[in-house]
Symmetry: C2
Subunit: 196 residues, 2 copies
Amino acid sequence: MEQGLRERKKQATRQALALAALRLTVERGFDGVLVEDIAAEVGVSPRTFNNYFSSKAEAICALAVDRAQRAGAALRARPPSEPLREAISATVLAELAGGAVPEHVPDRVWFDGLRMVLATPAMQGEYLRVRAAMQDALSSAIAARLSTPPGSLLPEVVGGAVATACDAATHRWLHSDPPVPLRSLLEEALGHLAEY
Amino acid sequence: MEQGLRERKKQATRQALALAALRLTVERGFDGVLVEDIAAEVGVSPRTFNNYFSSKAEAICALAVDRAQRAGAALRARPPSEPLREAISATVLAELAGGAVPEHVPDRVWFDGLRMVLATPAMQGEYLRVRAAMQDALSSAIAARLSTPPGSLLPEVVGGAVATACDAATHRWLHSDPPVPLRSLLEEALGHLAEY
DNA sequence: CCGGGTTTTTGCGTACCCCGAAAGCTTACG
DNA sequence: CGTAAGCTTTCGGGGTACGCAAAAACCCGG
């Protein structure tokens, strides 16, 4: 598992770049920060930045993608006897509403970052990839749980529907004034899905 | 409505650019065609291209976005007495499986184009915007039909879930070998949604 | 049919992004 | 240790996207 110093250093650089990208972008806006700045913050050449991420937007959203994948793993880890719907809602509530922000990222940076990504056209495309990552992670976990026939669309459809529900709840949460707890929005969204 | 020659010309230019972008990209791949080429094909300057579209990818997917919006309009146009689920499935089947390709685009270009967009990383982000456009169009139509309270998440969740189902069916369709009719995939996907 | 006001197109310049290649350093391992 | 493998860096180029100001195209009232 421990691939030695080399691998650890690589992951550290990656995290540092992603976090710096997020922080700086929150502070100065998407156009106010250059790839050069992010690289400088981490102490690495601009070219190296692009060895890790193929775009500035990708770096900014990298931590969110990581989290989506953790959600998939969490669903896989639930007891197989648990009914699918319960397993999903338990996973989603624990991972998204549990203050479980990735990798020592300050809560405030995370919240403001999400908000900014959604408000900036140049980053919406990348955010949609985060959502897609969530869908993929959930779908494959669902497929593993149910051991559905290979051709079935069910895992993708259900995974995508759940990802959509999380997304709708998150949007509403970020714009709610006065603030509403994310948990209750997630519960509402998952409820709508079940009753359709 | 008719804003005179001026407006008509603008729309014509827009369509021509979008179609040229799609055709050329199908023929030569995303990196094989420059903005310059697309502009030349239509007989306008490269600078003008960017007056209409803020990126090459946006132009390529513009027709698909237009179609998503037509789907929303179609849902609004269904009889209000019809139950929501029926209205949705009728709309989706008619708009997506009905060979209803936008604006005189050859079926083959449309099919190959979709395939290429989904296979090209540089364009996946833009495709996700198409899916998001579908979600928005459906959501707002659903909200209009149900006249739900302003704060409800239901329209977004259901609209997004349906968009996801369409998307999953489309993916499977494009990769099916031997070919499976899109209609039956859509029916399956919508079915999974209803039974979850 | 024609001139003034408006909108669109265009050319030019700029800032930035992303990537390929080759050289330089660092880590891994016998 | 010393050689092999892997990352980082430097350099340079091809493209994209957009601000700005001048030129062209269009619309309308006289």
